[in-house]
Amino acid sequence: MATAPHPLPLPAEWRDFLALTKPRVMTLVVFTGLCGMLAAPVRVDPVIGFTAILCIALGAGAAGALNQWYEADIDAAMKRTAKRPLPDGRMDRQSALHFGVGLSAFSVLLMGLAVNLAAAAILTVSILFYVLVYTVWLKRRTPQNIVIGGAAGAFPPLIGWAAATGNVALLPVLLFATVFLWTPPHFWALALFVRTDYANAGVPMLPVVAGERVTRRQIGLYTIPMAVVAVAPWPLGLTGPVYGIASLALNAVFGVLALRVATRTTGADDAMLPEKRLFRFSLFYLALLFAAVVVDRWLA
């Protein structure tokens, strides 16, 4: 019996695979990883250093791809993410899964074989943490999702340092803790002005579950330990005054912006300008703070 020809789905374009790796998120990950490596008291061969950074980028991209594979339904419900390859129908889920798993394995193997086992082990933990702990376990269940899940994005400076030295020391641990404590105020500032999006997708972000007032208070509260940990390398003698002064100045500005957000009450049609300002500055803050660690090391 003759059947109607079944149309073959078009294969995804290479640009869609690139989009799956969240290139914009990867930029910050690569930068903090590179700074972690350059802050280490060991000179790294440029080729090995480049390979380590490449592995960090590929590992982050792989984790991003697996995150999008698992969260295609959430992404489809949010305006900010609805045009991603999976919710937009430009790629099938199986391709995204295969790409994510393949890239994860490749990045870890290359790190282990070309750089060292310590860096490969931390890279593995960071990918598994982002995919299993944050994406699969926490994100849909608790408003603490980005508090604990923030650790996933904090691993790159540790990986960079481990790639250079083969071990972990107090300075990269403090850099890890800084990114870890920076994540809640950074994401909650964003969540305050895209709250409807998260609510529509059923993601229990803090403003959706506990309300705006609690979120604002938490932003203010998390800023305090973040600032303490960010400044700590200077009094502990791990960095010099260049980092010390830069971190004091950056944390002072962050503190003022966070305080403004923490103490504000808004009406129905508020433009959320202080929240947007805090979100934008938080990106600038992290980039400058990490750049200061490297400059301080070079001047020492």
């Binding site: 149309p7 073959l8 078009l10 290479w14 061969d45 080729v47 390979t51």
Partner: protein, 45 residues
């Protein structure tokens, strides 16, 4: 599949194959560079 769809299908396959070929080329060069770096490190150490 209509001829138009078939052309689109082939064009995508071709661009993906081209990107894959470039990436494999870059990987081969990287492997060579890593090997040289490791040999150099072994000689220095």
């Amino acid at each position: 599949m209509t001829p138009k769809n078939q052309d689109e299908y082939r064009a995508r396959q071709k661009s993906r194959a081209l990107v894959m070929a470039i990436l494999l080329g870059v990987f081969a060069v990287l492997m060579f560079a890593i090997t040289i770096a490791k040999i150099k490190a072994g000689m220095d150490g």
